[in-house]
Symmetry: C2
Subunit: 349 residues, 2 copies
């Protein structure tokens, strides 16, 4: 029954409107600037126009969906920070003291924080959506991170969280954010499985590992893949065996946003893994996904390249939470203003 809901959601996703995409590119050509001089921003905005089916969409409400969960694989010492940080950071998000709070306040973006599997109690905090599937995933180095049912549940939670926020007030643009100590390990595993890249080429420092610790992290991922034998053709199998609840939740947000014709701005490594899982389930989603930055995590570049996306900016950031996506949203918002508010050479006459 759950599967049917996911299938319905996927069937609702339509191709973007290429006529509108072309109309936007033509409009850029008429503006008072050298032709194509906004570079790739013109292509980004044109494609987003294709998503909306309009060259002049209303971009009133921007939302970053921030999903948090813990990872059993932290038992293998794959992170420089203790798992307890996940819970502390969720409280920080709710108190407004985290990087993502500062950026979203500045840019006028809403943040929707969901506990989809954080270990420990968070209580009835204002602003927190409580959808805890479990106290973190199981250790993927010794067995599947979660059951297939839980993987499906995580997707549906992401879908429901998006739909509820959308029902409260129409959403025009979203960004993906996450928190979960251990989730670069899960994401690197997913990226390796779905792109065929070598594990060494997609594993990096996460929150701050030393070189020998990165080797250890790679060996744990290899072990997890050997033990679990995830089927790369089956996103739900990959998610269940080496994924995470927040990863599944964001895949659900992606599918929900695409079915509502809302562009999705990716963040770093983890949202790259989510995007790969989503296009595996629903190939049409690819045109709805927009890169923001390229993180310092080398697996992120592998994921972006597989998605055929070039980043807008590259500061070597690797903070997560949706921080890169917040800047990406600002570029898209200003890009539409340029398209719709600039004079044409005809206006000058």
């Amino acid at each position: 029954m759950k599967n049917r809901k996911i299938d319905e959601l996927i069937e609702n996703i339509q191709p973007i409107n290429q006529d509108i995409e072309i109309e936007a590119l033509k409009r850029f050509d008429n503006l008072t600037k050298p032709r194509k001089s906004l570079g790739r921003l013109e292509n980004i905005i044109a494609r987003a126009a294709g998503v909306y089916g309009s060259v002049n969409p209303n971009l009133r409400r921007k939302v970053i969906f921030l999903m948090a969960a813990d990872h059993g694989v932290t038992a293998e010492r794959v992170s420089a920070y203790p798992a307890e940080i996940t819970r502390q950071m969720v409280l920080n998000f709710l108190d407004g003291g985290a990087a993502i709070n500062i950026l979203t306040r500045h840019f006028g973006i809403d943040v929707v924080v969901t506990d989809i599997g954080v270990r420990g109690k968070l209580g009835e905090k204002k602003g927190l959506i409580r959808k805890k599937i479990a106290q973190g995933t199981e250790n993927m180095a010794t067995g599947p991170a979660m059951t297939r049912e839980m993987a499906e549940e995580s997707l549906l939670i992401g879908y429901e969280v998006f739909e509820k926020a959308f029902a409260q007030e129409k959403i025009d643009l979203i960004g993906l954010g996450e928190m979960g100590i251990g989730n670069t390990t899960a994401s690197s595993a997913i990226i390796s499985i779905l792109t065929g890249a070598k594990i060494e080429d997609v594993v990096d420092m996460g929150t701050g590992l030393k070189p020998e610790q990165i080797e250890h992290k790679a060996s744990i991922i290899k072990k997890a893949i050997e033990i679990n034998q995830p089927n790369s053709k089956d996103s739900m199998d990959v998610l269940a065996k080496v994924g995470g609840f927040e990863i599944g939740g964001l895949v659900g947000c992606i599918l929900a946003a695409a079915s509502r014709r809302v562009p999705i701005v990716m963040d770093g490594l983890i949202s790259g893994a989510c995007a790969l899982l989503a296009i595996n389930l629903a190939p049409l989603v690819q045109d709805y996904l927009f890169a923001s930055h390229c993180s310092k995590e080398k697996g992120h570049r592998v994921a972006l390249s597989y998605l055929n996306e070039q980043p807008i900016f590259d500061l070597g950031m690797h903070l997560g939470e949706g921080t890169g996506a917040a800047y990406g949203i600002s570029f898209i918002e200003t890009g539409f203003k340029l398209l719709n508010q600039m004079a044409t050479f005809d206006d000058l006459k």
Copy 2:
């Protein structure tokens, strides 16, 4: 006498405060994020803090200085657009219909537009600073673009425009913007002379030249350098022989801003040439200069590399006007908010 004024201005420029730079880096390390996870943004903000002498400066007023002038070298057909566009675009800036107007309105940045040598009449337009040195420069392919006195005058005009705006209301951050059909030709010449790069490696399409036209443009620059024999050790000689009034004006803005301890955000190729001229005159200025984007003009990367600066973003933009700088200002503003508004791990306890 003019020279003495420029010398005084240069003597006023002090080294940035490295203790404050280090204090800012330490502060970043205490925030609720993985260490160094804001990547190069942490170094950018720390250096800017060193410019201010404060980790928590007030960034109330941001200004883009937009200087416009024409270039005699357009007689050699080095641009895809007619020279008349310079005047039309200045009117567009004053009417608020150009790309830079849209971006600065969005980001809350003031624009100060100066006619420092536009060909043709602009009249008494509201918001226009009228400092026309001449009706454009002379054709550098047949002789010097301007006299040395005019070069000095252009610098002093830039200085005075900055000082007047600063006196009206304190300025906290500036960006460099320009308009001048033909000015990528002048800038490529300057970059080649000051970095020693081959002309072929710094000449590009400008507003939209075809490959054979780019070759022609390179040959004109070679001719200009052969005829004028600019002295690469003498910025004022280079500016006079192959520069432009708006280029000199922006060099004046750079020196003035640095002497007031105001960080300067560069834009594309032209501001790269300005930065090279400025550090040649006053090496301490280098720490006051901040890259925003890397433009599609290949000479820009050469200039940034010589300045030891990495761009924040790269969209293949080549629009000018300060459009890249506007985004760069937004990154610096948000970077300081992150530094000063984020919680520390101690706060979470």
